[in-house]
Symmetry: C2
Subunit: 134 residues, 2 copies
């Protein structure tokens, strides 16, 4: 089945929560977990990965928490998902029986990745489109 795992979906949800945080205030794992219904422990791992990829920054200690590492204009969904799940839609090497098909799948990968080239700040647009279309 072709799908993004919950890890990637959780990651986007967490990043979205940070983006929506008023005045870009620090958010604690606790808060994000409550908002998104992601398990606390699992979210810790996810945020840790996002930090390694420099998508978020953290502050430790009693008033610690997370915030976006950059402006939401500079963060794309593809980076979030790929930092958590590895490169999207990798062409499998030992399957290639023909150059034609290899070329085809490489093309598919490229186009699929393009679909996820969406800025974090534009994430709400599909909902708004839906809303205004009524």
């Amino acid at each position: 089945m072709v799908s993004i795992s919950t890890k990637g979906i959780y990651g986007v949800a967490a990043m979205h929560a940070l983006y929506k945080s008023p005045n870009a205030k620090l958010m604690q794992i606790k808060e994000i977990a409550a908002m998104t219904h992601i398990s606390h422990g699992y979210l810790e791992q996810i945020l840790s990965s996002l930090k390694k990829s420099s998508l978020v920054v953290s502050i430790r200690g009693i008033h610690g928490g997370y915030k976006l590492a950059h402006d939401a204009e500079k963060i794309i969904v593809l980076d979030i998902v790929e930092s958590l799940e590895g490169k999207l839609f990798v062409p499998n090497e030992n399957v290639g029986a023909s150059i034609v098909l290899d070329s085809f799948w490489a093309d598919m990968q490229e186009q699929t990745r393009k679909v996820f080239d969406i800025k974090l700040c534009d994430l709400d647009k599909s909902y708004q489109t839906f809303f205004y279309e009524i």
Copy 2:
């Protein structure tokens, strides 16, 4: 990791082999397996699924084999992959913490599926494009 499993890739390879068969002649599992380097037993399962989805037809007995059920113009890659792997990129239900994100993922699914809306007969084009661009 986000990727199409080998099952889907094998399915497309097998369908492509049938499409390329001269005069749309029947091909035996043996032949397709040899061409594509897919294991015989696994390919049997895949072709069986493709048959259930009415993408190929089969003839049994000593001179049996497979051929496309319809013209290659009427078969799209999305149908091949989804008949083998289930619907592409299903939005996970219990993850939806917000309507905004649900809406976003539904949108992503739609767009990803559109990428795979490619006719079997157009499958060689990415290679040709590559070739002529040199």
